[in-house]
Amino acid sequence: MHDTSAQAVQHHAPTSFLRKHVFSLDHKVIGKQYYALALAAALIGMALSWIMRIHLGWANAAIPGLQTLSPNGAPGGVLTPEYYLQLMTMHGTIMVFFVLTTAPFAAFGNYFLPIQVGAEDMPFPRFNMMSFWVTFTAFLVLVSSFFLGDGPTLGGWTQYAPLNAIGSSAGPGQGLGVVLWMISIALFCIGQLLGSLNFISTTLDLRVKGMSLMRLPLSAWAWFITSCMGLTAFSVLMPACILVILDHVAGTSFFVPSGLVLNDQLVPHSGGSTLLWQHLFWFFGHPEVYIAIVPGIGIVSHILIANMRKPMLSQRVLIYCMGALAVLSYMVYGHHMFVSGMNPVSALAFSFPTLVITIPATITVLIWVFSLYGSRLRINSASLFALGFISMFVSGGVSGFFLAQPSIDIMLHATYFVVGHFHMVMGVAAMFGIFAGTYFWFPKMSGRMMNETLGKVHFWLSFVGTYCIFMPFHYLGLVGNIRRNSTFVFDYVQPLIPVHQLITVAALITGAAQLVFVYNLIHSRFWGKPAPDNPWEATSLEWSTATPPPWDNFGGKHPVVYHDPYQYGVQSSVGDYVMQASPEQVKTDHEEK
């Protein structure tokens, strides 16, 4: 017998407060919980970046409040070198894991994937709830390292061996701090695997009548592809973290070779391989950054289409490009290791797929840009951030041309060029994807509109501000400014300090602009204008249900899908669009591809 009630474990709406708001099985609540987690993480990560930037511009600056947080780390409020590195490590870890993997994928995906396929919920709501609470626990474990032992680990979010495995003699935070980091990230991996489980089975098995795979909106495709990537990537990082924990607490030597001397003492481990960690980490690490960007690609495409009032030149090609990015992402990871001491022939082997991965990325950008041709582009906060995403993705992407080549990497590895590159694509483009998604979907999630004026202020300050911060990073890198330096003492970097000061000013202003966004979120949540069911005149299934959707998404009626997801530019009874779930048959104005 085939069981269709696998769609929802619960058969009636939850009633208790705990079940409704805390331990909820409803994917929409879980999505909002993930969003709140990502928001909190982003604010903490941003505050950390402010502290770092102030110190980089003014090495002796006394930062208020820091002495209380860590009297050892910041005596008199002035950052010690180790505390700078500890804050930097936490900034990277929090942002990459708890913001960029969480918001575009876990938050929006959990909320909207089931609705976009027409389902009542995900097939395993208890695993879904567990996925959030495990991720939340991971976050608590990570943040606890601020307050335990001698602080968080200082080895960067990449946690290279043997620094990550030797223990506290290697530096503050390298004992308990590393163990907590590893536990946190292992838990995070488990949480995301539980999430991927739900995403994949939702996409493949719960699509409603008429919803073929090719009729899925681009955001749904992006979440599906991302969850496949996560499956392969997180299940490799987790065992690597476990092996590091064993090196710490069980005396094993997976990553620590023999003959190391720290503080004139022989390190007791022997025989391990330091490059092994790099291979395991980057096998996860490179797909991870595509996990951070692919949902943004899907979300931005989805939003742009609604605001262009016409579909993309080819939906199919965009899907293939996202798939190509996902597959290629596993073949390129060695480009992080060109000068690591690995076999130089491997460097060439990794370099070619890295150059080839430019092609699907370029096709994606070209399709976006040339789909704008002939459109009726609407300008609002969501579309501004979506268009800004394209600009940022281009800027961040072209610096990849340089880093993909091992010979050029000799000059640019470990410089601010790399930092500029990944901040452009992750710290800005992916964030813009999150903002675009927020402005677009907030009405559906909360029943209220966000303030458009504040949204535009947020956009302008962010767009100009992030260019002012991160474009100069590339110039600094070209001159050889080394990253992860808490203070600039090398002779040749001295003349660059004024540039860092300007960047810091831009960073603080841009940071302040994000507070406008937070204010807008909170204010609109309670006092925003009530939103109609379909404020953007959009076509996908989430817009054919109530705002906000009822607990079972469609109020007991399963929609039937009659159309491709982006029927815009047609003449219908409701306007220039036909919703996916509408039985109305219309002729299109232009060719469908």
Binding site: G155, P162, A170, L377, R378, S391, A414
Partner: protein, 267 residues
Amino acid sequence: MGKFFAITILVIAILSAIPIVMHTWEAPADISTHGHLIDEQMSETMAEAGISFLAAQLLLAFFIWQFSNRGTESKLKSFPGGAKALVIAALLVVGVEVLALGVFGVKAWADVYLTPPSASAMPIQVQAGQFAFYFRYPGPDGKFGAIHPERINEGSQEFFGLDKEHDVESRDDIVTAEMAIPVNKEIHLLMHAKDVGHSFFVRELRVQQDFVPGLDVSLHFTATKIGRYEIVCTQLCGLGHYNMKAYLDVLSNDDFNEWMKKEAAMQ
């Protein structure tokens, strides 16, 4: 607002390109024999990246300008050629471009990493440890004495853990805190990590290579200009990473011999 956005993109793109075009942000002059290939790759890549960057941003700006906030009565159009034309363009233009970069870049890489040092190269060992570089010259016997990790003691300045009593080769080894090399002489740099990962970077010499604990790696290069250059650590190695550097002196032959005599006397 759409048109204003288009202008903003244009302005930002142009402003971003200006520092590059004016050559105000570049690595210092190359003093190595292999570096010109790297610099050529860099220039070519910069040209291609720059053109791609400007073209994409300009097109984006242009289309936003043309098609934003048009009335609801305006006709929707589709780019002639459609997605197929774009895919072909991307494959041809970008594909060929990046693969060309890759292919031509192989020589620049191979010159550094896939060629062996010549037999007459001067061997120098560099050891990286928290948070300093130390250098060792083999002395007249041309051989390095063994490193005994258990004998390493920074307090007593025994940086390499040499056993001068039992190891004959280590007796004439010369350990220094600065690296000096003769100009126009190929150097074979043997890299040893004492504790955690570090990296060796000299901008002017166009070399950067990580130290790998447990694995001794090596580099070879030839410096062509006399001068004093900074060696900096580029692999996060702990709290003193920001401060970890040494100086490289490229000297004339005579000056170098003088220096060696002085250092040998100080052992």
